[in-house]
Symmetry: C2
Subunit: 372 residues, 2 copies
């Protein structure tokens, strides 16, 4: 029995299953390249966006956040939690979904899973930053932390700035083995390293993406010489950092959205007036990137709502045809907006006309409006 009057207002939904199909259908590398293009486009028009602080609900076990943004044509928000204890019960510590809506009507135009998509947009965003900040001719990236984000970073960096060799290190050798296995046949040279120092030595780009939820020193001051690019992904919430503050003091620091990065990024270790540059200023050409070949550029990446917006916009454009979404009957579209009860009564009448002789069980029984 389908009793809704008008299914015209149904909302496309990209499930986890659809997202996996979409990513595999497009190909991980091409997906990352195209998504990086969308992110870069949105960085270029950064000032068109409403930039709101995230709205957080804290509890003893974790946090639930809503992250809205809008460019005046589309509106998006992301729902995301952070619950470290979830790992004990086999659940994700971070799960996310999101909605894209049409600003002109306020109607949602896309509901999507965002766990897989966040992993992809994080890697694509890092590649955009590196394209603007890494030394010209970079070929080798050292990566410390070989968790879920690692391989996406490796693939994205080959796609965009031309990195063809990736050195991997993790305190857990099983994580490195997993990454080596997943990257086999991906067209880049993958070298497991015996230490963090070995992974980053001589690399033009250094990526840190560990998961430890505390102040750590993944990157010690003696590990970083002049002239490289540091892509610092893992330090992304209060109390969680990866890079020694002396490196931060030697580096030129680039961030996404300063009010958020002051709280969540590596720069929470520095004075609140320490100078940094927002990446959009480099992307638009409003300011220079690295000031010289001997400088260290450091991208203090924490994740920002506009990058999710870009990812949603990309997915929205790519699912217009094909088996990568279904339609959800999420928004009521009454046949007569002033007559919501009438819509219910007509639906009941249609149902009764359609199945006059059917015995309804108690759960499906369409009771009287005035039943008591």
């Amino acid at each position: 029995m389908q009793i809704t009057a008008k299914p015209l207002s149904s909302v496309p939904f990209v499930s986890v299953d659809h997202m996996m199909k979409l990513v595999l259908g497009i190909g991980v590398e091409r997906f990352l390249i195209e998504l990086a293009g969308y992110i870069e486009d949105d960085y270029r028009r950064w000032q068109d966006f409403d930039k709101t602080q995230r709205v957080a609900a804290h509890s003893p076990g974790g946090v639930i956040e809503l992250m809205p943004t809008s460019d005046g044509r589309f509106y998006s928000f992301k729902y995301v939690n952070g619950h470290p204890k979830n790992a004990r019960s086999g659940k994700q510590t971070v799960a996310a979904f999101c909605v894209l809506a049409d600003v002109e009507t306020g109607y949602p135009v896309l509901l999507s899973e965002l766990t897989i998509l966040t992993a992809l947009r994080t890697a694509a965003k890092s590649a955009v930053a590196a394209r603007h900040l890494a030394p010209k001719g970079s070929r080798t990236m050292g990566m410390i932390g070989n968790g879920a984000q690692c391989e996406f970073q490796a693939i994205a960096f080959k796609a965009v700035p031309g990195i063809d060799t990736v050195r991997l290190y993790d305190i857990d050798p099983a994580a490195t083995e997993k990454a080596v296995r997943n990257l086999a046949g991906s067209g880049r040279k993958v070298v497991p390293s015996r230490s963090g120092e070995a992974a980053v030595e001589g690399a033009q780009i250094v990526t840190t993406c560990t998961a430890d939820k505390q102040h750590g020193t993944i990157l010690g001051d003696n590990m970083i010489g002049p002239g490289g690019h540091i892509n610092a992904i893992g330090g992304d919430c209060p109390g969680k950092t990866e890079v020694h503050p002396d490196i931060l003091r030697r580096a030129e620091i680039f961030v996404e959205y300063l009010p958020q990065t002051r709280i969540e990024g590596e720069i929470q270790q520095l004075a609140t007036d320490h100078p940094v540059i927002e990446l959009w200023q480099v992307v638009t050409g409003a300011t220079r990137g690295r000031s010289g070949a001997d400088q260290i550029a450091l991208f203090d990446s924490v994740g920002f709502a506009i990058e999710d917006f870009s990812a949603l916009r990309y997915v929205h454009d790519r699912i217009t045809a094909g088996p990568f979404s279904e339609r959800l009957d999420l928004v009521a579209d009454p046949d007569e907006p002033r007559d919501l009860l009438g819509m219910l009564l007509r639906a009941r009448a249609r149902n009764e006309a359609a199945v006059p002789a059917r015995r309804c069980n108690s759960q499906e029984r369409l009771a009287d409006v005035s039943d008591e």
Copy 2:
């Protein structure tokens, strides 16, 4: 092809169609009575809730808002728009959906349409307020404004405080005819009135629920004598009011959440320090309701997040069995959380093993990870 590893984390989804079935299956009146019970329970523990201001994104055509709240066990947020011009294209001016989540894990436990449910919770909430504020032995309600909310109010008020006669008036006679038609056979006496004055004269309860988006005087000072209860529903955003300020000055005013009602309610016409009482204080017994039989009690109702929370909680309890929801694959649950790319690769391998001889078309082709 279903390639997701573990569908165990799927989220129940109540579509518009499901909601209609659920409401008809339970019966509109019983639904309203039970929902009023949930709302009253949550008013009774009002101080347990996080009460956040709504997060609004304004645009020339309207507004999109997120309304979160939590009682420490569950978290909910509502997405709602307000776009007056939508009516021209046959769309809803207000459409809504919402999510209930488990605070302990951060996982969503319910996604639901909220257009039909909002209409029901608004009526149920009005009935809760009237139970505490209306004169004892109230039998007759006069209603000005016979749009979508009208009949739900009429049904809810019979269910809770015992109103059995409803007088209806709308400037559009077709709206009144629609309401009379929909309420036929509902067990209450329904009287179309020739004017607003005729509808409210001698009624113990007066409900205003017009849709006009401006300061109106639906209820003039001479229409209201002593001793009644005014249920003011329609004035619910800046610039939209229904009740003459002189009535407000004579009445004892009750509100949901004062910081929001100051901006959105009838009391936007009064000084910002005009005394009012939050309804939860009356429900808990912390303060009296009406101070005497000759007083006018006025419930300045604008809609608050906790009422949506109550409605979600009710629906969540009622859909545990039965055909009133489906499961959405909204949150990724990787077989190994550190191995998101591996999950994709394994899904591709399973798919290839399952359909070895199948010719894929270009859109379904599962391309190489490193395709370029």
